[in-house]
């Protein structure tokens, strides 16, 4: 365990140094990303303000949903995005051998070596939006609230991390994983809105198969005390449990799929 923490520290240091070498390029990248997401926030605000509310959720509450999702995605992306980004090519080319011959366990090594800084933009933007929304909704920021926010974000990032792992592990089993990629990002889009507006089937999918509902919708429904006609009304209690077990299952899935790796030779 200590060994991987130390590896994480070293790789993180390397990543930060690498970022600082091209700091302007990095900064412009961040601004571009943040701009992209701010427009989505803006469009969301315009759309819902024109109608006053979306199934009982007002514009700021829906933006809060999005901000929580984005922050959790940011934490998970910092550690897992590079796995998903690089692994498929490593597998196709056979350079995954390099990882296998190292005297480390595969998954802990990948997690500790995949740190990237880019998601700082997502997280900063979502914190700003959260502050704005809490202000507009006149919610008192107390220690209790901060703890529950931290808890929600942590379990959200476990779910995102699990999804990243499942998608990347599929690269061991199939040559092209673009379809899974699409599924992951489509349902992420779904979870930006109160999922009670969608048909029953979609609600079931985002609660069970790709459990995005537990990232933002169910916890915030509880936190903001919303009473809408969702299919699963008591799901919020299960949030942390679902997050931890989903992450555990995806780790096992990754481990099992990695056994199917056949080197393509070099």
């Amino acid at each position: 365990m200590y060994r991987y923490l130390r590896l994480t520290y070293l790789f993180t240091k390397k990543a930060v140094k690498g970022m600082l070498t091209y700091r302007w390029s990095f900064l412009i990248n961040c601004i571009a990303q943040a701009l992209d997401y701010s427009v989505t926030f803006l469009l969301m605000w315009i759309m819902i303000s024109a109608f006053e509310n979306m199934n009982g959720w007002n514009a700021y509450e829906v933006m809060l949903l999005y901000a929580f999702s984005l922050f959790a995605y940011g934490i998970a992306g910092t550690f897992f995005f590079n796995i998903m980004n690089l692994l498929p090519e490593q597998i196709l080319k056979g350079t995954f051998d390099d990882v296998l011959v190292k005297p480390v366990k595969v998954l802990p090594y990948l997690m500790s070596s995949s740190f990237i800084c880019n998601y700082i933009a997502h997280m900063t933007l979502s914190v700003i939006v959260m502050v704005v929304c809490f202000n507009a909704l006149e919610i008192q920021v107390t220690g209790r609230l901060l703890w529950s926010v931290a808890g929600i974000l942590l379990s959200g990032s476990l779910i995102y991390g699990g999804l990243f792992l499942i998608v990347s592990a599929s690269a061991f089993l199939a040559a092209k994983i673009d379809a899974l990629f699409q599924i992951m990002y489509f349902f992420r889009e779904v979870s930006y809105y109160p999922i009670s507006i969608f048909p029953r089937m979609i609600q079931v999918i985002v609660t069970t198969i790709v459990p995005y509902g537990f990232v933002n919708y169910y916890p915030l429904r509880e936190l903001l005390g919303k009473e809408d006609n969702a299919v699963f009304r008591q799901a919020a209690v299960w949030g942390p449990l679902v997050a931890v077990s989903f992450f555990a299952v995806s780790c096992v899935f990754f481990h099992q799929s990695a056994k199917c790796y056949k080197s393509s030779g070099s």
Binding site: I28, M47, A50, D178, Q182, E189, I197
Partner: protein, 264 residues
Amino acid sequence: MRLCRKILAISFKEKSIFRFDYIVGTIFAFLYIVLKVYLWKGLYGADGEDIGGIALNDMIVYSIIAGFTEGITKTTVMKDLNDCVLDGSVSANLLLPIGFKKYMFIQSVTRNLFHTIYGIVPSVAAAMLLFSFHVRILPVNLLLYMCSVCMGIIINFLYNFLFGSSVIWLRNSFFLSNINSVLLSLFSGAFVPVWFFPGGLRALSKFLPFRYIVFEPTAIFVNTKSFEEAAAVLGMQLVWIMILFGAVTLVWNRGRCKIMIQGG
């Protein structure tokens, strides 16, 4: 004409290699339209009364048609220009016995035509079957819509070409192309139509070319405009085409002499 057909055929072949990608792409294009329609249904709520003079039925038609309009007006010319200037392949294109701008335009349109026929049309058709709505299509409106879409394609191409040319001076058009896509997604009305914009943003959108790419053609189709209003829109599109064409000619004529080609 024969040249056009040749380029068309090659572009078609180039794309049909990745069939699986296209099937997946189509399914998800369909799902994104479904997502949008459910969002509007959620916003209108159970009683579904008109908001700002727009009924839910119109909004569903708008979402579906906007999906189609957005697909057909899309262009990747900014990225193409960036790539071919940076890797030097622009030199080969400049030697072609057909104007560079014309070549890029034909390439962009044919690529998109294929994408539209195989990717957008099935998803739009499926969305139409899934949701019940009524639409009254007058032949005049259809004709006006088609004219408007054609001009929308030209506007989007010229605009992207204009700002894509900046790669000649800046050696990288990433940031500009990002700003451009941000502005396009905000003002084009592909997701949220300009009807629902607050006053200030709506006024601003009148001075930008973006609303003439997706929003105005789609609004003509949805039948919310009188004939005079539609004609005024077409007029404005023509004005924008002339402005952008002038700017593109100016910038490209200067840039062509400045292009630096690395490698060979």
